[in-house]
Every structure is written in C-alpha cells, then in structure tokens.
C-alpha cells in the first residue's frame, strides 16, 4: 500500500516543511484509505457471496435454479419456494417443537444461571475458583463426550426421543456459558450501589431483586439470546436423540429436506435455510455490540 514519493520533495524552506509534510501525509493517507476501502469491498463481496447465493436461489423459480450458466439475479423472482417449505410436511410442527424445546431450555438455564452468576460474582467463598474452572472446562469438552453417556442414561430412563430429554441436554450445553457470561455482567456493576442499599437495611434477597437483577437485565437478555442461538442451532444432539420425525427440531428437518421426486430441490432447501437462519441473523444484529463480551467463554461459536 506504499505510494511513490511525490516529485516536490525538496522544495520549500524549513518554515513551510512541516505543513507541507502534513499535507503530503494527508494525501498519502487518503490514497491508502481508498486502497483499504477497495480491499474491504472485495472482501465483503467474497464473504457475503454464500449468503447472497442462498437468498438468490431461494427466490428462483424451479427452471432458473439448475442451469448450465448460473443466474445471478432471478429473472422471475418468486416466493413459491418459501410457500413450498411452509407446506412441506412437518415444517410448522418442527418449528413448534424447536420453539418449545429451545425456549424451555433457555428459561431454565437463565433462571438457574442468573442465581449462580449472582453468587459467583457478588460473594467470596471457598471453592468459587474451582467452580469457575469446571464451568469453563465443561464448555471445551468434545461434543461426543457428553452425548454418549447421556444417550445411555436417557435410554434407561425412557427420555430418548422426548422433549424433556432434549431440554435437559440443552440445559447441559447452555447453562455453563450462561453462568460465565452473566457473571461478567454482574461484575461490571459497582459494589458501592449494593453497599448503599445494605446501609439502608436491604437484605441479600432484596438487593438481588430490586437492584442487581434490574441492572443486569440487558446482560441477561443478551445471554438469553446467546443461549437461544446455541440451542436453536443444535444438530448433533437432536439428530442422535430424536428418531420420530414428528418430534424433530428444525435443524433435523432442514438437513433431511429433499424432494424425493427430483433429487434435492435446492430452491426449496435454500428457502428453508433462509427461514431457519432468519431469527438467528436478526438476533445477532440485535446483540451485535455484546457479541464480543461472550468471547472468553466461547459463548457463540460459528
């Protein structure tokens, strides 16, 4: 990104040198910015392309999907793929299943995790560090390490293929990082506020309810969204546990989406992918600023 030196280098007395150098630097920086913007533009086009292609395909009528020469803008845009996806057996049912399971798991995790996070951030007690380390370590386990024993136990307890089983499995996935992330939000609240309340005679419960939780609410909402996304996206657990297609969640529905009459119906599949991704993308844009906060616990993986 270096620029060749302008020809007027040696012109000018000492007094004018400084402003001139400034001007030159300004120009050089301007040119550099144009270069950077160009690189950024190319990067953006490349990086957004898969998303664009998903949306583009989703709006194509069937004859425009599979063509020797790809069609970059649908010539006769249509929503028929979306209509098909909706009418596809089980979409609405599996959507309902997903919502029931994911929302239950998130609510449970946030309530349990919120109390735990309060305890781990506002009090000092023995074993606290150990608990934090365990919470973090559980996050890093290979997915199969929990899947195998859980499968076995659920098989014994007849929880395989049930919503209760799936909710429990999601709580196990989501609770550790929920505690970790919410604890971070709790820590950000100054102790002085609590002290003031304590002096006014408020008890621990009162302080939690009337002061801490309301202050942490935005953080709790952000954490709920992290948790929602993680559980909503799960494929592996549901794929392993749920064998009855009326009990599938959306990721399983999506992955098994194909039209038996004519091979894979890519238009329909892309429309279904758009529908499935939409809530997640909206949530991501909503909590954009908090995304990096969840980082140390690895809250949101790709």
């Amino acid at each position: 990104m270096s620029t060749s030196a302008p020809p007027r280098t040696a012109v000018g007395a000492a007094s004018t040198r400084v402003p001139q150098r400034d001007r030159r630097r300004g120009r050089r920086r301007g040119r550099r910015r144009v270069g950077a913007n160009l690189v950024a533009l190319i990067f953006s086009v490349v990086w957004v392309f898969p998303v664009y292609w998903m949306i583009n395909t989703a709006f194509k009528p069937r004859p425009e999907v599979m063509t020797a020469q790809p069609i970059f803008f649908p010539q006769h845009p249509t929503v028929s793929n979306f209509v098909n996806a909706f009418e596809q057996s089980n979409f609405l049912l599996d959507l309902r299943n997903s919502v029931i399971v994911v929302v239950s798991a998130v609510l449970l995790s946030i309530v349990l995790g919120g109390f735990a996070a309060a305890a781990l951030s506002r009090f000092r007690f023995r074993g606290r560090r150990t608990i934090m380390v365990v919470i973090l370590a559980v996050q890093m386990l290979p997915p199969t390490a929990l899947l195998i024993p859980t499968f076995l136990v659920f098989n014994e307890l007849n929880l395989l293929g049930t919503f209760v089983g799936l909710v429990l499995a999601y709580v196990a996935t989501v609770l550790p990082f929920s505690i970790w992330v919410m604890r971070g939000f709790f820590l950000a609240i100054p102790y002085e506020i609590e002290e003031a309340a304590m002096i006014d005679g408020a008890g621990t419960w009162r302080i939690l309810r009337s002061i801490l939780f309301p202050l942490v609410l935005p953080g709790i909402i952000a954490t709920s969204i992290f948790a929602f996304i993680t559980a909503w996206n799960d494929y592996l657990i549901a794929y392993t546990f749920m064998k009855d297609s009326t009990m599938y969640t959306l990721p399983i529905w999506l992955a098994s989406f194909s039209n038996p009459q004519s091979g894979t119906d890519f238009g329909g599949q892309m429309a279904a992918s758009v529908l499935f991704s939409l809530p997640v993308v909206v949530f991501f844009l909503l909590i954009q600023r908090k995304l990096v906060t969840g980082m140390s616990a690895g809250a949101v993986k790709g």
Partner: protein
C-alpha cells in the same frame, strides 16, 4: 466479603429501628448462606447433567456396552482392552493425524484472515467499516446446518456456482462436473473454506475490539519516528493484541478440534474415511455401529487431549487479567 467499615449512619425510619444505643454499624452476619442457596440449584443440575455423565463415560470406556446392551442392559467389563485396541488401531492414528493437521490448517487460515480483516477495519472509512461488520455478522450468524447445505449447493457438480466460477477463471481447466465429495483433497478444501468462512467473523471482530483499545499516541509517536506500517503493526499492534490473540487462538484450536456438523453434513467423513476426524470416528463408532463402550474410550482419549489445551487456555485467561 466486602469491608463493612462504612461510617454513614442510616437515616429516617431505618434509624428508628436501630434505636438501641449502638455506636457502630450493625456487624455483618459471620456466615452468609445466600451464595449457597443461589448456587445450589445450578450446581445440582450441572452435577447431574455434565459431571456425572463424564464419570459415567470413563466407566463406560472399560465395558463392551453395545447395541444389545441398550435393550437387555447386559454388558461386561473388559478392562483396558479397548484402550489397547484403540492405540494399536491404525484408524485411530490416522484420525488423530487428520484431526491435528486439519485443525492446524483451520486455525492458521482463520487467524491469518481474521487478523488481516481486523487490521483492515482500522484502515477503512466509516461506511466500509459498517459494510464489512454487517457482512461478518451475516457469515457468523448463519447456523452451520444451513451453511453446510449452502456449501453443498455452491459446490454441486454440474450446477454449482463455484464450479462455474472456477471454470470461468480458466486456471484449473473445466471444473464444471468436478465432484468435490469424491476426492479427499477437494472435500477438505470445501470444508476448510466453510469453517474458515464462519470462523473469521468472530476472530476479526474480537481482535478489532482489542485493537481499537490501543492508545493512538503510540502510533503517532512511531510515525513521527519514521517507522513504516509493517513495523508499527509488528511492534505496537501485535504487542497489544498478543493476550487476546492467544486466547482466540486457543479457543480456535479447541473448536476446530471438535468440528462435527460441517464435516458430517458436507462429506459424512468421506470419501471412504478421508475426512473422518476423531469426532466423526467417535460418532460413527458409538452411534452408527453402536459400540458405545468403544466410542466412550475414544471420547475419553479425545477429552484428555482437549483438557490439556483447556488447562493452557485457563492459565492464559488468568494471566490476561480475567478473575475467576
């Protein structure tokens, strides 16, 4: 516990309650049970749903639990024989080699591109910064089940747009009918692109958040001293970025080691076993062949390796100032 040496006297109604002639503020109770009650429910849930299963996994790895056992409940202890057979199984060695090499390629690729994009974000104008951020969030947000399906479509033989674009580029000849799932190298390339595509946003945005914290004076001083941009990046930016970079790197290693969905949905570990990493191999053993005992043994070995990485991660997290 926080110090209670506050010398403000409560006023109003509260003061009336504490009307006893006590000159000092009420002493805090010696033992506060609140954290115990707050923590217990979550602790119980975590114990039953994560700690107990891990212990069970270890126990299971010493048994021959399989599909029959799921129905009859009958299984036998086999000692360490499964570990012995895993370590002598060439498939284990190959899975491990594949996992390590592929994870390395993924981490290297996503870190280099992520660092580049993070640096790029500090150079572009406001509008472009906004555009790149939104694009990154899109790539990050698409659930990997959906993006895996998109990938299969992008790389579809005959109709895939990537095949078409590569053919137009005339570098590799006619790529139109290339089946990416048929050759190990091509399957790896496609999956590598998919995972890197989704990993870069997290890395780039996290690094950029850290990078914008670097005080501007350092750069100004370095520029006045005539340092070139590359030197400034190496000496100043990287110096400040190092702790964050290390954390992001270790997290990436752990995640890329654990990658499952993308491989499973794009290549199912194929062709043959060519893209079968440790995770895929464990899953196939435990849930396709239903040798749960053997799968457990592989999972234990994988977990042990990952916990070593995690310990390193936690150590660095503590060093970077995070308080546990």
């Amino acid at each position: 516990m926080r110090s209670s040496t506050v010398d403000v006297v409560p006023s109003g109604g509260e003061a009336a309650v504490a009307s006893s002639p006590q000159p000092h503020p009420r002493p805090r109770p010696k033992k506060n049970l609140a954290p115990f009650w707050l923590l217990t429910p979550a602790a119980l849930v975590l114990l039953t749903l994560t700690i107990a299963p891990i212990l069970l996994l270890v126990g299971l790895s010493f048994t021959d639990y399989d599909q029959k056992s799921l129905f009859t409940g009958a299984f036998a202890g086999v000692g360490v024989s499964q570990y012995a057979s895993i370590f002598t199984d060439p498939e284990f060695l190959w899975s491990l080699v594949r996992t390590v090499l592929f994870a390395t390629a993924l981490v290297a690729g996503s870190l280099v591109i992520g660092m580049g994009v993070s640096q790029l974000l500090t150079r572009v104008g406001r509008t472009m910064r906004y555009v790149v951020t939104v694009v990154l969030i899109f790539a990050w947000a698409v659930p990997n089940v959906a993006s895996s399906l998109v990938w299969v479509w992008l790389f579809q033989p005959g109709y895939g747009v990537v095949n078409w674009l590569l053919t137009q580029a005339r570098v590799f000849g006619d790529m139109t009918d290339v089946n990416w799932a048929e050759s190990p190298a091509l399957a790896y390339t496609a999956i590598w692109l998919l995972i890197v595509w989704q990993a870069v946003p997290f890395i780039a945005l996290t690094l950029n958040a850290a990078q914008t914290q670097v005080p501007a004076e350092y750069f100004e001083a370095a520029r006045l001293d005539g340092a070139n941009e590359w030197r400034i990046y190496r000496m100043i930016t990287l110096h400040f970025l190092k702790p964050t970079l290390l954390l992001v790197a270790i997290l990436s290693v752990i995640w890329d080691f654990n990658v499952f969905n993308q491989i499973w949905l794009v290549s199912q570990g194929g062709p043959g076993n060519a893209t079968s990493t440790l995770g895929i191999w464990t899953y196939k053993t435990a849930f396709v062949g239903f040798h749960l005992g053997e799968g457990a043994a592989i999972a234990v070995v994988t977990t042990a390796m990952l916990m070593a990485l995690t310990a390193y991660y936690i150590r660095n997290l503590l060093r970077s100032g995070e308080e546990l």
